[in-house]
Amino acid sequence: MIKKLINTSEFVVLLTLIGLYVIVGLINPVFFSISTIFDTLRASTVYFFLAFGLLPIIISGGVDISFVAVAAVSSYAAQMFLVSRGYDGGIWAYFIISCAIGILMGLLIWFLVTRFNLPIFSVSLALFTMWYGFALFFIGAQNNFQLPASGVGYYEKNLMTVKLPTGGITSLHSSIIYVVLAGLFIWWFLKYTTIGRGVYAIGGSREVAVRSGFNVKLILLTIFVIMGILAAIAGVFFGLLNRYFGPMDLQGDPLNVIAAVILGGASITGGKGTVFGTVLGVILIQLINRALIFLGIPAQWQVLVVGFMLIIFISMPAIRERRANKLGHSTAMTELE
């Protein structure tokens, strides 16, 4: 049982994460402070939602790029609409309008993929450039900072505040509750629903899944709608936490989110991946960025250090798999022993 646990790819990521935390902490003990954890979680919030939405699509064997465009465009459209109406109520309106737009955008990619039998990656690339172009040309090209009073306040709506021994205070933002809820939902969906099991089935082998009676169209519909909703929520949180909505938000981020999901043990070819692994992958990428500050690396060399760390962290699971293959069986079989 324990051996089985140790051999999962999630465990390798967990060890990497703990190793990084301890090593950086030993070099600079300030890193062990609770504020590191709170700040990392806060910086991860948006990426958690994006990664949760992307995970089922990657497990189903597809790679989507357009989810960042869904996040940016749906939230920016909601903001511009509400601002033009002089809206000054609660933030719930943002979530409702964004999610409605996100669902429509999810339905469009689902329609194109299933009706014309197209690869998800190709369609999502076209939609990525189309949606960003759409927002910039038709909705507006400037970042908008006019949040309603409830939206401005949300920036510091904290769950708990802790006094630091050094003097200052640090807070855990309340958005983490929704991250946990979304994570639990995806976990339940993938593990305990027929459609969720079908996601793994079509990712493992589409042909076998069809012949065993899985409804591929329905499964794809579900995961694209989930992607649309979670991306829209991510977009709204991006706006609320950064206190502005922009038409080009997150444009440089799709590859980082994909990397986080795959670092977390999901297979790029489908059929494999867990919520727990995804959480670890997202935190790992954020923690690397945070660690650099504490290691005292000069700003101009920080990107290089991130690159080095990435090369090491992506090589470890690959080397492990390679060793397992040399022994004459795949990692899947190793895990069973």
């Binding site: 194109l112 690339l125 450039t129 101009q300 990107v303 290089l304 690159g307 990435l310 080397i319």
Partner: protein
């Protein structure tokens, strides 16, 4: 004897015919789109088909064209190279610093120092390609992750050595490539066309190219046929690295400056978009499609810019149009294939 349509030979030949036809149909669609767009933008704005606008397009497209060729090779073996643009920038930045700060300008003939700097850029391309190839082929990292990590690393090196500043002040000879013409055709465009022909030649007229396509269509079969898959992948990524560094030199020579983050947010996805539009799939690639796709994107970019002159945010309309056009081409392709299958 007449009813031999069930014989395996007949089926194989039919299958091949179908497959060849399938490949050609994308070229056919792309060429059609190219002509339609050209006429359309020409009718909207007569300046579009005038020589100055066509020459300016020919100056703008080689960079992204060469980056797309660099992206083509990994795509044919089912991989991807996200590092193409940062290899280009790193090569440009290193050779730029070498040219401006290290070479004794007064002692050497400026033309010779430019040649040395370009040689250094190509060397950087080889080294970067080797690192990509090593991670993908010998460590066994999925290409999308490996090249994302090297993308960050190369970007990091370029950021570190420049401290975020642009490198400028090259001798005039540097600009002679980027702004020079041969018989009225920009030199950089000629370089792009020659490289496209070279890649076509490598892929379809050499044993190495045959091995690449075999590896792409079935890696396991290739391995059991005695091919050294790892070595092929390594060579492939090195060629990709060199092509990327050439794109870097072209950009440096055109803009007369080198910057660590030139085109960072858009160029990589644009290069992937071109390979997707060209219908490059593992084992199958058509260099001519890449060439036409690059032309199409440039026509939309320049054409919509001229048509919407003065409208706010007009430079973003091309992104919207690119997306719509890609989806239309996918759908058109679907209907053409469906007809063939029914026939």
């Amino acid at each position: 004897m007449a009813a031999n349509s069930d014989s395996p030979n007949f089926q194989t030949s039919l299958f091949n015919k179908f497959k060849n036809h399938r490949k050609d149909s994308q070229t056919f669609i792309l060429l059609g789109v190219f002509v339609v767009l050209f006429v359309f933008f020409g009718l909207i704005n007569h300046n579009f088909i005038a020589a100055p606008s066509i020459i300016s397009m020919a100056f703008q497209l080689p960079e992204i064209g060469i980056l797309s060729l660099a992206m083509l090779l990994p795509t044919i073996v089912g991989g991807i190279d996200l590092s193409v643009n940062s290899v280009a920038n790193l090569a440009a930045v290193v050779s730029g610093i070498f040219l401006v700060k290290i070479l004794p300008v007064n002692l050497l003939n400026p033309a010779l120092s430019v040649v040395l700097a370009i040689g250094l850029a190509l060397l950087i391309g080889v080294i970067c390609g080797m690192l990509n190839g090593f991670l993908v082929a010998y460590v066994g990292v999925p290409p999308i992750l490996a090249t994302l990590a090297t993308y960050t690393t190369f970007l990091g090196i370029a950021t570190g050595i420049t401290g975020g500043a642009s490198v400028t002040g090259f001798p005039d000879q540097m600009g002679s490539i980027g702004s020079g013409t041969i018989f009225g055709i920009p030199i950089t465009f000629v370089i792009f066309a020659l490289l496209a022909i070279l890649i076509y030649f490598i892929l379809f007229r050499t044993t190495f190219g045959f091995k690449i396509r075999m590896l792409g269509s079935n890696p396991t079969a290739a391995k059991f046929s005695g091919l050294k898959n790892n070595l092929i992948l390594m060579k492939l990524y090195i060629i990709g690295g060199v092509l990327s560094s050439i794109a870097g030199v072209v950009a440096m020579s055109y803009t007369m400056s080198a910057n660590y983050e030139y085109g960072t947010t858009t160029y990589v996805l644009l290069a992937i978009l071109i390979t997707v539009l060209s219908n490059i799939t593992p084992g199958f690639g058509n260099v001519f499609n890449i060439f036409v796709s690059v032309l199409i994107l440039q026509i939309i970019s320049t054409g919509s810019h001229m048509a919407l002159m003065g409208v706010q945010g007009s430079s973003f309309f091309k992104d919207f149009l690119w997306g719509i056009l890609m989806i239309l081409i996918f759908i058109l392709n679907y209907f053409m294939h469906r007809k063939e299958i029914q026939n």
